[in-house]
């Protein structure tokens, strides 16, 4: 097996037994990244010097202390809207093109304790606004399984980097599906925690009441290990909650005896690709064979999720992006007075989708419209959340498709904002309700594109996702190797 095909756990075992060194692993992955980048464009920055130094530090840790921690010496990447001190953080926007993070996100600080290896910062839709990475100011990424197609988004670069074997794991952010949907498109595992599980301090804000850090890896087991490393309350994020963080990986098992699974009928609707539906249904059957009980159920307000999302999120966007005004950092375009500096910097710095969302959010929160839009959307949010809480009094997990289709072609939806928004139809409700979810590869379409199944768990019951996802992945035993 080649080094880029290893899972985090396999690589960690080889490093601990000194079969390979962190430097050897890092050099192999840097080489692969350099070869593939002209095709895939997963990265906005490859941090080669930093990576080799990180690897050296990890190798010293192995020499000094023996077996290291589970992520010591493991190469990873972070979406370019996550702050790592001294490294660029552009959010794929021209307005932050020269911005260097003056401090690190709390989640990244927690990770660095283990001495992993930073390979680079990955591409995204500008400010994480999109479902394809086509909204990046620096050009789209490509799906390693079919270079004509998008990797999904907004964390498309991170998903593509893991799928291509540039890194063994990666971080994204998920506000409406931005980790789960690209994971589904690229044939990797993508996890969004409960709102409040992982600190948001040091993530460039999109919709603050919806944003969470997310994790990509080849296996559910790897994701579980990484989740334990970065979770937990943080005094710099008032919305992170002080709940104990389990050692998730220790809870995994091979069967699902006693697990109660609900299938929300609103998620199996016309318009979903037939192959996606069949693949998800066979995954559900597999989980039943593993010992779970399965029952159809209803989330009656689910159909309002996307509409509520495209009010709440833009309202928060319009507030969050008001900080980019050309004064303290980022692009500054001169004008004859202060107001012109604001207008000129923002008009030249933001791309079309950021502008659309700022406009929608400004309108939906303005006097005379806030009651009709924002207040109604918050009511929808309350009802959607109540649906989930009620469902979870009976079920341990809910199962749906992650996305209505496999990866679409570059350019296919880029001129139709609304049709792009519909790519998130199955993922947004989780952010609206704050519940955790994971996308696990469950099949391949007839033209070779990966398909993902979404598992949904109660608030702060991430272990249900990992237990269900791990048993499913083990028993499906899919081999998803992109041919690039």
């Amino acid at each position: 097996m080649e080094l880029h095909e290893l899972t985090v756990r396999e690589a960690s075992e080889k490093l601990a037994s000194k079969e390979i060194s962190a430097t050897e692993l890092t050099k192999a992955l840097l080489k692969r990244t350099k070869e593939l980048e002209p095709k895939v464009h997963a990265f906005l920055a490859v941090t080669e010097e930093r990576a080799l130094n990180d690897a050296k530090v990890a190798d010293e840790a192995f020499t000094a202390g023996g077996s290291g921690l589970p992520l010591t010496g493991i190469p990873f990447a972070a979406k370019d809207n996550i702050l790592i001190e001294g490294i660029q953080a552009t959010a794929a926007s021209k307005i932050l093109v020269n911005y260097k993070a003056p401090y690190s996100a709390t989640s990244m600080k927690r990770l660095m304790v283990q001495n992993p290896v930073l390979i680079g910062k990955t591409n995204l839709d500008e400010f994480a606004m999109g479902s394809s990475t086509e909204n990046s100011a620096f050009g789209p990424s490509r799906n390693p399984h079919d270079l004509e197609r998008v990797p999904g988004g907004s964390s498309g670069g991170s998903a593509a980097a893991v799928a291509a074997g540039d890194v063994l794991f990666a971080f994204g952010t998920d506000t409406g599906g931005s980790v789960r949907q690209p994971a589904s498109f690229c044939g990797v595992v993508g996890f969004k925690p409960t709102y409040g599980r992982i600190s948001r301090y040091g993530l460039i804000a999109l919709g603050s009441s919806l944003d969470q850090l997310g994790i990509f890896a080849k296996t559910v087991e790897d994701v579980a290990v990484i989740a334990t490393a970065v979770s937990g309350a943080d005094e710099n994020d008032t919305t992170s909650l002080p709940k104990p963080v389990p050692d998730y990986a220790s809870l995994l098992k091979e069967d699902l005896k006693g697990m109660k699974i609900g299938i929300p009928k609103e998620y199996f609707i016309d318009g979903t690709d037939k192959e996606v539906e069949a693949s998800v249904k066979s995954a559900i059957k597999k989980m039943e064979e593993l010992g779970a009980t399965v029952e159809e159920m209803s989330l009656p307000h689910a159909s309002y999720s996307l509409a509520a999302y495209y009010i709440i999120m833009p309202v928060e966007v319009s507030a969050n992006l008001s900080r980019y005004d050309g004064i303290r950092y980022g692009l500054s375009v001169t004008g004859k007075n202060l107001e012109e500096v604001y207008f000129n910097s923002r008009s030249q710095g933001f791309g079309p989708e950021a502008k659309r969302r700022i406009m929608i959010g400004t309108h939906a929160s303005s006097a005379g419209y806030a009651d009709a839009y924002y207040k109604k959307a918050k009511l929808a949010q309350k009802l959607i959340k109540e649906d989930f809480v009620k469902a979870f009094s009976k079920f341990d997990l809910l199962i749906t498709p992650t996305a209505p289709t496999p990866a679409f072609k570059v350019g296919e939806k880029s001129n139709d904002p609304l049709s792009m928004y519909l790519a998130d139809i199955f993922t947004v409700a989780l952010n609206i309700a704050g519940v955790p979810g994971i996308s696990v590869p469950c099949g391949v379409s007839s033209n070779g594109l990966p398909i993902g199944v979404q598992l949904i768990a109660p608030h702060f019951k991430e272990e249900n996702l990992f237990i269900g996802g791990h048993a499913l992945q083990k028993s499906l035993n899919l081999k998803l190797k992109p041919n690039i």
Partner: protein, 95 residues
């Protein structure tokens, strides 16, 4: 309800964004289409009420407001487009 060009103008001023006449026309169409979609939330019938000032399910965790000394202010100041010493320089607010 579709937006008028005047409304697009008004929103763009509130948002501190400038657009060309062509961009405004395109936005008028795109924003109207998006608003038309999200307006379905108006169909929700429920006796439930939302209180926008308070979310009973969530608590903010506050910490003591203690001033800290920044070790390396240069990391922040060096990103400012214009500065004078340890200050960020801006155009005058009042004319």
């Amino acid at each position: 309800m579709p937006l008028t060009i005047d409304e697009v103008d008004k929103i763009s001023k509130l948002a501190r964004l400038g657009f060309t006449p062509d961009e405004k026309q395109k936005l008028q169409h795109e924003l109207s289409q998006i608003l038309n979609y999200v307006e379905q939330v108006k169909n929700i019938t429920s006796n439930s009420e939302v209180n926008l000032d308070e979310d009973p399910d969530s608590i903010n965790l506050m910490r003591d407001d203690v001033a800290e000394t920044m070790e390396e202010p240069e990391k922040f100041l060096s990103q400012a487009p214009a500065r004078e010493g340890n200050y960020v320089k801006v155009k005058s607010v009042l004319e």
